[in-house]
Chain length 385, copies 2
Amino acid sequence: MRQTAIIGIGQTPVREHWDYPIRQLAVQALWAAIKDAGAKHIEGLFVGNMLSGALAEQEHLGALIADYAGFPCIEAVKVEAACASGAAAVRQAVLAVASGHLEIAAAVGVEKLTEFSGKFSGKALATAADADYEASIGLSFAALNALMMQRYMYEYGYSKEDFAPFPVLAHQNAQYNPNAMFRYPITKEQYLKAKPIADPINLLDSSPISDGAAALVIVPLKNIQSFGGSAVKISACEIATDTIGLDNRENPIVLKAAQKSAQAAYKTAGIQPRDISLFEAHDAFSIITALSVEASGFANAGKAPKLAADGVFNINGRLPISTFGGLKGRGHPVGATGVYQLVEAAKQVRGTAPDKLQVDDVRLAMTQNIGGSGATVVTSILEKI
Amino acid sequence: MRQTAIIGIGQTPVREHWDYPIRQLAVQALWAAIKDAGAKHIEGLFVGNMLSGALAEQEHLGALIADYAGFPCIEAVKVEAACASGAAAVRQAVLAVASGHLEIAAAVGVEKLTEFSGKFSGKALATAADADYEASIGLSFAALNALMMQRYMYEYGYSKEDFAPFPVLAHQNAQYNPNAMFRYPITKEQYLKAKPIADPINLLDSSPISDGAAALVIVPLKNIQSFGGSAVKISACEIATDTIGLDNRENPIVLKAAQKSAQAAYKTAGIQPRDISLFEAHDAFSIITALSVEASGFANAGKAPKLAADGVFNINGRLPISTFGGLKGRGHPVGATGVYQLVEAAKQVRGTAPDKLQVDDVRLAMTQNIGGSGATVVTSILEKI
């Protein structure tokens, strides 16, 4: 098994991109990554996307984006795992290079949600849940997450305001990320007064409907000298799944797939949770941040909100999380999100994050990309070379 | 790079499966393959599917099918490459095992099209074309293939009846395949009188809207002794792409991606076209059979219909094609088709095809799975051990 490295990164700003169709967003990020790598060609393209079929009536994104990027004959496929599609595509690129079949592969995550009405996007997003037993009875993702949050509050005796540190921190960081959707801070008071979505979840618990694309170029670790790009080692990229339906889980506030993929990632990288310098969490909703941090071994069950209140997750804290604003602040262009996390983690490892966001002395950065209500989780670890 | 082998195969009949939702079709094929392998567990699942999001409002098939198959914690993703989704998923399973990341992986292709009106399926299928420049102006796949067929007839001086041997042969073989959708022969006269679809394509040029699932279990070649299943070596499984739009091609009747993936497959397997014992072609429309046979080096440009008329492609001919009925006779459950082809090729290599379909002395069987109007092509070669 060959070891792999990221040699190039690229991203578009996360916005409502009314001016660009999905193919152009993808190509912008992809070419930025190829240029950053100092490469001229790629042999394979793995596209992370969830909803272009439902929303833009465009499937077959592998061939489409390879074509529009100017590589009309390479290997190319789309990989879908709901909101974890981005990192799942990265995993396939890693396998292709690790296997020796490809010498240079790219993963691009891309999603375009805002050309359509909010209602339609919400319905399309619900296809990540169990269509027959969840979505069909009206369980949107806000509703599923509300059930988890309600249970967590009951189980550990928290109130609504205990979750404020998560979105406040996300916005705090996002304001310094030029590619973030929400580049302004919010206060605890604003959080508590925000519009309810699905009790106890309100607007400021929820990541936004966004458009964007992010890309990585991946090569064998042993070949990084052949490229101009600044290389970051991929020490692990591990997928695990859980039951698709929340109701089939032993405990609805334990993300078993996150536990399993994080443990696999630690094992593959040969490290412990305490070795991690920073963690890009999948904060689609505030509750998921807490569950993700706990499942990854960074906090005991029920303790994440306490650690957040103590500042543990701030940029200068013991374990900075969502350092570029996370899904809440940077935005959540579904199939692109996992690739954004890895682009941001790579910037931290390279030491090229914006001044106010750069974590000191980063050796190991971890990302966790979550699909559905935790049914697919991809945990990745990047390492300084 | 580890070499890989198919150790188990499974399939459902290709039918209008009104009684089974997509998850049940997939699980039936998957468990049949696992049982056939003599295995109890799989570490990864790669699902080939194109349209469950659009038609069944269900994405996230990786986690869903892993869950319903009784493996709720394994690695699982969906792979999409239009009608080539099935073999593209097999390619990912091969990469995962070849890389050393997984010791046993399954690929399942599944599609359910008939629960919905024909019109809706047709519109959904058109998302494999360029949504902005082809589908939006009304170019369905029948229309795109009609353009190719028209051009081919003009270029090489064929008339409609010269294409009759392809569907006649497909039905001839399908009648002996218990899993085929159309288990009856057709005549040249029936073909010439069939209802027009998009001139010169008629109903009997066209593969049917179908439901079905097929699955493979893949392990490292060196480990086949640990399983009870009958092993077949995967000597190659190579993807290539072409422009998504037909209008951007240098020559609309040359399948460049098929040429490229076939050449890559021959190189990987270390063989020549003449070494191939049989070829499972992607006969979605009669014209595609001709173009696929030519692109793969089995006939010179413009000669495929002549060879068909001479009986070269019959079961007892020099190069049998579509030995289980192909897409025209067995049926074309889009994301499952590429896996059906490999299941059928594996049966030929094992020597377990139905009596009237078994090709003599099969050493190397080739399959070619095509997405869109040739924008993604996966060519695979299976070898007797």
